[in-house]
């Protein structure tokens, strides 16, 4: 049942991402908690939402350029982290989440390749619409547009549960085999998340981005250090 729910979430996100609306519902910050919630673990989805949003902040469709498929990657990672935590009987953890990231993030690249196939498929749809219009079937010609939503839905609905299933099997096996790796992996998750923050700042392409990124980083750390000192 979990895989079916995940397939539906991934498919709808893939449609929202480009074909319909573009209201940020397929961005990692919304999609990861949604996937977690759909699988019964909102907090598990929230754990990976912010790092993935920042990591892929620059994944935007500019002109004909194709970005990585951040929605596919996010659904697989969030779903994999939640299902792996459930398989371990302990809920979603940073150490499980980082293993899910390492296993499923390449799906975002695979999704970009799939997007290229979708574009080729859509060229056929455009030719079909022109042919329908030549046959004076105007309604059929314009309706062809909606058929373009089918393939992105199907690709994401298949690949995301496959990635999550791989994480559900591999993550508990790895964590059980090397229990001493848990704390280091937990630190690895936060190192990854901190890099994701850097990726977000870099993606914003502002002239002042480096200065402002480091200023934000240092200001919060200095504030925390000061508060820590005041508290003692």
């Amino acid at each position: 049942m979990g895989y079916l729910v995940l397939a539906l979430v991934a498919g709808l996100a893939a449609v929202e991402r480009k074909g319909f609306l573009q209201a940020m519902l397929s961005r990692p910050i919304a999609l990861a908690p949604l996937a977690g919630w759909a699988l019964g673990d909102l907090e598990g989805g929230l754990l990976v939402a912010a790092p993935l949003e920042l990591l892929w902040l620059g994944a935007v469709n500019l002109g004909a350029a194709l970005p990585v498929h951040e929605a596919l990657g996010t659904t697989a990672i969030a779903g994999g982290a939640v299902l792996a935590g459930r398989a371990l009987g302990e809920g979603t953890s940073p150490e499980g989440a980082i293993l899910a990231v390492l296993l499923c993030a390449p799906l975002a690249l695979l999704g970009r390749r799939a997007d290229r196939l979708v574009e080729i498929w859509n060229e056929r749809l455009a030719a079909r619409a022109e042919a329908e219009l030549l046959r004076h079937h105007a309604r059929a010609a314009v309706r062809t547009n909606l058929y373009g939503l089918v393939l992105p839905f199907a690709i994401a609905a298949v690949l995301a549960p496959v990635g999550a299933a791989a994480a559900e099997v591999a993550v508990p096996a790895l964590l059980s085999a090397v229990p001493g790796a848990r704390l280091p992996l937990r630190v690895g998750f936060f190192a990854f998340a901190a890099l994701a923050g850097a990726s977000g700042a870099k993606a914003l392409r502002a002239r002042t981005a480096p200065a402002l990124f480091f200023a934000g980083l240092v200001a919060v750390l200095a504030g925390a250090a000061l508060l820590g000192r005041l508290a003692t």
């Binding site: 074909g19 209201a23 910050i29 919304a30 929230l46 939402a49 912010a50 949003e53 920042l54 902040l57 935007v60 469709n61 002109g63 004909a64 980082i98 390492l102 993030a105 080729i120 859509n122 060229e123 455009a126 219009l133 004076h136 105007a138 010609a141 314009v142 909606l146 058929y147 373009g148 001493g180 790796a181 704390l183 280091p184 690895g188 998750f189 936060f190 190192a191 990854f192 998340a193 901190a194 890099l195 994701a196 923050g197 850097a198 990726s199 977000g200 700042a201 870099k202 914003l204 392409r205 502002a206 002042t208 402002l212 990124f213 480091f214 934000g216 980083l217 240092v218 919060v220 925390a224």
Partner: protein
């Protein structure tokens, strides 16, 4: 002389709804051509009772079209503005095409620069920091504000395009979107720094001072590496694995894991 042809308000609402599907069948040959034809079709049906004229109008809108999906609403609205004149005999059939050709490039650049590389990443960063500090309600709040802005813009552009046609250019330029975009990008970069610092503090909670040092190094060195052209996903793997590896080594050296 007959009254000028007008598209009924309900049909305009239907066209606006269909504008949300403008990229449904994006392709490399015609790009958003199918989406544009799909969106404007209800208006063409209202304007051209004669099937031959309707098909001719639909054919001209099946040609190449590409714009930012939000800004495309302005061009769909403006194309209807011109199609009403064509249907009334006040303009030649080439006029709506001329309008589309003239505006699609500049509006695409403006939309990409404002919405895709400034407003959306800014709200992504706001939502990420909010989620780290306050959980899911912050995400809902950030997305609600983003979509309020997005839909007000999208609907406003459609209405302005329909009402004013070519005169919409002046309205859009008065918004000074590039200036606002620069400020949003700067604020977004600072928020990314704040988010990275929160992760460093969480690393400290998980792995002590060594965890904090590793996460700080990942943020600082990661930024420098990405700025020098390092690829994102390999950099993310290096950060995660080097962080875990260093923590493991530190644990071994200090007798714990």
């Amino acid at each position: 002389m007959s009254a000028p042809a007008k598209v009924p308000p309900l049909t305009l609402a239907r066209v606006f709804w269909r504008c949300l599907f403008v990229q449904a069948a994006w392709n490399r040959r015609g790009m958003q051509n199918l989406g544009f034809a799909y969106a404007i079709d209800p208006a063409l049906r209202a304007l051209y009772p004669d099937a031959d004229r309707r098909e001719e109008a639909l054919r001209r809108h099946l040609g190449f079209f590409n714009c930012h999906p939000y800004m495309a609403a302005a061009i769909v609205g403006g194309a209807i503005h011109h199609e009403e004149k064509v249907a009334s005999g006040a303009e030649p059939g080439a006029q709506p095409l001329q309008y589309k050709r003239t505006l699609q490039g500049p509006l695409a650049a403006l939309g990409d620069g404002f919405f895709w590389t400034a407003l959306r990443p800014f709200f992504g960063a706001v939502a990420a920091v909010g989620a780290l500090l306050a959980g899911w309600p912050a995400i809902v709040g950030a997305l609600a504000v983003y979509n309020l802005i997005h839909l007000v813009f999208r609907l406003g552009l459609f209405r302005a395009g329909y009402a004013k046609g070519d005169a919409i250019v002046g309205d859009i330029s008065r918004l000074a979107l590039p200036v606002v975009a620069d400020r949003l990008r700067s604020a977004g970069a600072a928020l990314c720094g704040v988010a990275a610092a929160i992760f460093v503090l969480r690393a400290a909670a998980a792995g002590g001072s060594s965890g904090a040092a590793l996460a700080t190094a990942a943020a600082a060195l990661g930024y420098l590496a990405l700025a020098r052209g390092a690829r994102l996903l390999p950099a993310a793997y290096v950060a995660a694995l080097a962080g875990a590896g260093a923590a493991l080594l530190y644990g071994r050296l200090h007798g714990s894991s």
